[in-house]
C-alpha cells in the first residue's frame, strides 16, 4: 500500500508571502499515475518537493501509505525522484550512479549489481554504458540513467519533476510512451510534474491542475477536457486552446456577433455578461457542399478567414467574426478588432485567407463561466 495524500498541505517561502502551495487536498491511489500540471509558479513543483521532503510542510500533512511523513527526512520516505536536469553524480559511472542509493542502504554488492543490471535492461541501457561517466552520455541516455536510478530503489513512490523537458521533441514523445508503459508494468505510484498539458493528458491516469498554489481540478484527462470546473482549466487544457470570450447577456442567452447562444437556466442574477467557451472542433465549417446543419438548434457565426494553420490531417482556421472589426465593410484581414476565433476544419481543402465562412455551433457544446470568479455556470 502506498497511496499518497496531501491534506490541507501548505508551503510558504517567507512570512506574509502568498503561499506557494495553498491548503492542497489531493489523494493519489496506490499504483496510480498522477500528473500535476500548471503554468510556472503554480506550485506544482513545490507540491512535489514537499512530498519528497525537500521542502518543509508549513501547515497540513503529507502522507505516504497512510503514515504522516511531514517531518520525515527524505531518505526515510522510501521514494525516488527523477530531476529535471537529471542530477547525475558527475564523478561516478552510470552503474555507480544507479547503485548509489542501494550502497547508502548497505545493500551487498552482488545484489546491487543484479538490480542495476535489471534496471538497465528494463530501460534498454546497453551493458557497455554502465562503466561510462555521465559526461560521455547523450541527453536521452542521461535521462534513462536518471530513471534507472529511481527504478533500482524499488520505492513506494516515484516522483518526476519535468523529466522530459531537456529532450528534443521527437525523443520526448517516444520517452513519454516508455515512461507510461514502464509505470504500468511496475505498478508503482507515480507523481509526475509537467507544465505541458499534452504530456499531462497523454500520460496521467488522473491529472491535477494547479494555478497560483491552489488545486483547480483533479480528474481523468477526459473529465478535464469535457467538463472543466472553471475558466482556467478550460483554457489550460486542450490544444489548440478553447475559444473564450466575454459576451453580453441578452434574451436569456449570450450575445455573439450575429446570434444569441442560449444558456443553461439558473444563471446567477445580477450578471450583465458571461464568458463563453467553445472548443475549436465544436465550430463546424458550413460550406455550400456541406450545408447540413447537424442539429436543429445550431447557431451560425459568420466571418472571414484571416489565417490558416495546416496541420496535415486537419487545419486550424483563425476566423474574424463579422461585427468584430469595428463594423467596417467586409473587414480587412489583420485589422484590429475582437480576437479571432479558432475552428478546426478538414485538412484536405481548407478555405483560404480572406474567404468568407460560416461556422455552426451546437449550444449544448458551449460552456459558460462567471466573468468575475471564472467558475463554471453549469446546467
Amino acid at each position: 500500500m502506498a497511496a499518497v495524500t496531501y491534506s490541507k498541505a501548505s508551503r510558504v517561502y517567507a512570512k506574509g508571502a502568498v503561499p506557494a502551495v495553498d491548503t492542497l487536498d489531493l489523494g493519489i491511489k496506490d499504483g496510480e499515475f498522477m500528473v500535476l500540471v500548471g503554468p510556472s509558479g503554480s506550485g506544482k513543483t513545490t507540491a512535489l518537493r514537499m512530498l519528497a521532503g525537500l521542502e518543509p510542510v508549513d501547515a497540513g500533512r503529507v502522507e505516504i501509505g497512510g503514515a504522516d511523513v511531514s517531518g520525515t527526512p527524505p531518505k526515510d520516505r522510501d521514494i525516488a525522484m527523477v530531476f529535471q536536469n537529471y542530477a547525475l553524480y558527475p564523478g561516478k559511472t552510470v552503474a555507480e550512479n544507479m547503485g548509489f542509493a542501494l550502497k547508502m542502504q548497505r545493500v551487498p554488492k552482488p545484489e546491487r549489481d543484479r538490480r542495476v543490471r535489471e534496471a538497465a535492461r528494463l530501460l534498454d541501457l546497453d551493458e557497455s554504458m554502465l562503466d561510462r561517466k555521465p559526461k560521455q552520455l547523450s541527453g536521452g541516455q542521461r535521462q534513462r540513467v536518471a530513471m534507472g536510478r529511481a527504478i533500482v530503489r524499488e520505492p513506494k513512490v516515484f516522483l518526476m519533476d519535468e523529466p522530459l523537458s531537456n529532450l528534443d521533441a521527437k525523443l520526448r514523445v517516444h520517452t513519454r510512451g516508455q515512461i507510461a508503459e514502464l509505470q504500468r508494468r511496475l505498478g508503482i505510484t507515480t507523481v509526475y510534474v509537467t507544465h505541458d498539458q499534452v504530456e499531462a493528458m497523454t500520460m496521467g491516469h488522473r491529472v491535477a491542475v494547479l494555478s497560483g498554489g491552489r488545486l483547480q481540478q483533479c480528474g481523468t484527462p477526459r473529465e478535464l477536457y469535457d467538463n472543466p470546473v472553471n475558466q482556467f482549466v478550460a483554457g489550460f487544457i486542450g490544444s489548440p486552446a478553447m475559444n473564450l470570450r466575454t459576451a453580453p447577456l441578452a434574451d436569456g442567452g449570450a450575445l455573439l456577433p450575429g446570434t444569441v447562444i442560449p444558456l443553461p437556466p439558473g444563471l446567477p442574477s445580477g450578471l450583465s455578461e458571461v464568458v463563453v467557451g467553445i472548443r475549436p472542433e465544436h465550430l463546424r465549417l458550413t460550406t455550400k457542399d456541406n450545408p447540413g446543419i447537424p442539429n436543429g438548434s445550431s447557431r451560425l457565426l459568420s466571418g472571414h478567414v484571416i489565417l490558416v494553420e495546416e496541420l496535415g490531417a486537419d487545419a486550424l482556421l483563425h476566423v474574424r467574426l463579422d461585427g468584430d472589426s469595428g463594423g467596417d465593410s467586409g473587414g480587412v484581414p489583420g485589422e484590429r478588432g475582437g480576437d479571432p476565433v479558432v475552428a478546426r476544419a478538414e485538412g484536405r481543402r481548407p478555405p483560404s485567407p480572406g474567404e468568407k465562412v460560416t461556422l455552426s455551433v451546437d449550444p449544448a457544446d458551449v460552456l459558460a463561466f462567471h466573468p468575475g470568479t471564472g467558475a463554471r455556470i453549469a446546467a
Binding site: S10, R11, V12, Y13, A14, K15, G16, V18, P19, T23, P56, V57, D58, A59, G60, S211, R214, Q216, V229, N230, F232, G372, T373, G374, A375
Partner: protein, 312 residues
C-alpha cells in the same frame, strides 16, 4: 474556488514558513566558526591593540614601557606634513597606477583576444611580471635595469638622447609607478581577456550582419559587456596596489627626500626607524578610518559586481 480574494494585510492565521530549529542553525554555523574566529582574532585583535597604543607614548627601543598620553599622538599625526603628504601621495599613485594598468591591460587583452601564431607563448610572456616575486622585480629594476651607470634601459634609450639618466633619483615618482604598472597590468589583462572571451560569438556576428564596423562593435557592445570585468579589476587592483610596499622599500626607500613615501612606507619607517609605536598606532587608526570610508563604497561595488549566486 479561484475566487479572487485579497488576503487581509495582517493575517495572523494561515501557514507560516517553519522556523529553523536551534539545532539546525548551529549545525549550519559550526563549519563556519573556526574560520570566523581565526579571522577575527588574527585580523581584528591587532587593530584593537592599535587603538589602545594610539593613546600611549611608547618607544619600543627604550626601557620603561608605555604610558597614557591622551590624544597627543593624534595631534602629532595631524600636524605631521609627512603623514598628510603620504596620504595624498598614496592616493595619487594608486589612482594613476590603476588607470594605467586598466588602459594597458585592456589594450593587451584586445591584442591577445586575436588569433595569431604563438599566441599562447606571448600570453605567457606577458603574465610573467605578475608572477615574479615583487622583491625580486624591484631589485632587478633598481639594479640591472635602471642603474645610471650600467642599466639596460639607458642603453636601449641612448639612441633617443637619454644619457645615463638616474631614473630613481630624478624621476622616482614616475619610475615607481611604471614598475607598479609593469607588475600589475598582467592581472588586469587576464581579467579583461576573460571578459572578452566570454562575449558570446553570435552577438558579434549579429553586429557584423547589422553593418557595424570593428570599432563601433567594440564601443557599442564590447565595452558595455566588459564593464563588470573592468569594475572587478579596478576594485581588486586598487586593494592590492594601495598597499604597495616592496617596490618602495627596495627601490627608493621612500626617497629622494619623501618623494615616494606612501602610507605603508611611512608607517614602516615610524616603527622601524623612529621606534614610535604610539605614533604609528595613531597614524594607523587614521589610515584605517580612511580605509573604512573608502572600503564601504568598495563593498557596495563588490555586491554589485559579483551579482551573488544565491546560496542554497
Amino acid at each position: 474556488m479561484a475566487v479572487l480574494e485579497q488576503a487581509p494585510p495582517t493575517a495572523p492565521a494561515g501557514p507560516r514558513p517553519r522556523a529553523m530549529s536551534a539545532r539546525e542553525k548551529w549545525s549550519r554555523r559550526l563549519p563556519l566558526l573556526p574560520a570566523l574566529l581565526y579571522t577575527i582574532i588574527v585580523t581584528q585583535v591587532p587593530f584593537l591593540v592599535m587603538i589602545w597604543y594610539s593613546f600611549q607614548s611608547y618607544y619600543w627601543n627604550e626601557p620603561g614601557g608605555s604610558w597614557f598620553n591622551g590624544v597627543s599622538n593624534y595631534a602629532h599625526v595631524f600636524t605631521d606634513p609627512d603623514f598628510l603628504n603620504a596620504i595624498v601621495r598614496t592616493v595619487t599613485m594608486t589612482v594613476i597606477a590603476v588607470l594605467l594598468t586598466v588602459i594597458i591591460g585592456t589594450a593587451l587583452a584586445v591584442l591577445l583576444d586575436r588569433k595569431f601564431p604563438g599566441r599562447g607563448v606571448v600570453r605567457t610572456l606577458i603574465i610573467t611580471p605578475f608572477l615574479v616575486m615583487p622583491a625580486a622585480a624591484a631589485l632587478i629594476w633598481q639594479g640591472p635595469m635602471l642603474d645610471p651607470n650600467f642599466g639596460l634601459l639607458n642603453y636601449l634609450l641612448a639612441p633617443f638622447g637619454v644619457n645615463h639618466e638616474a631614473w630613481l633619483s630624478n624621476h622616482a615618482y614616475g619610475t615607481v609607478i611604471v614598475v607598479m604598472v609593469w607588475q600589475w597590468m598582467p592581472f588586469m589583462m587576464l581579467i579583461v581577456l576573460a571578459g572578452l572571451q566570454s562575449q558570446p560569438g553570435d552577438v558579434l556576428e549579429a553586429a557584423k550582419v547589422d553593418g557595424a564596423s570593428a570599432w563601433s562593435t567594440f564601443r557599442e557592445l564590447t565595452v558595455p559587456h566588459l564593464r563588470p570585468y573592468l569594475e572587478l579589476g579596478i576594485l581588486l587592483g586598487t586593494i592590492y596596489l594601495v598597499t604597495t610596499f616592496d617596490q618602495i622599500r627596495l627601490m627608493t626607500q621612500g626617497g629622494p627626500g619623501t618623494q615616494t613615501t606612501t602610507l605603508p612606507y611611512y608607517l614602516y619607517e615610524k616603527v622601524n626607524y623612529a621606534f614610535d609605536i604610539g605614533g604609528s598606532a595613531a597614524a594607523g587608526v587614521v589610515t584605517v578610518v580612511l580605509t573604512i570610508i573608502v572600503a564601504s563604497f568598495a563593498l557596495r561595488m563588490f555586491a554589485r559586481v559579483f551579482q551573488f549566486e544565491e546560496a542554497r
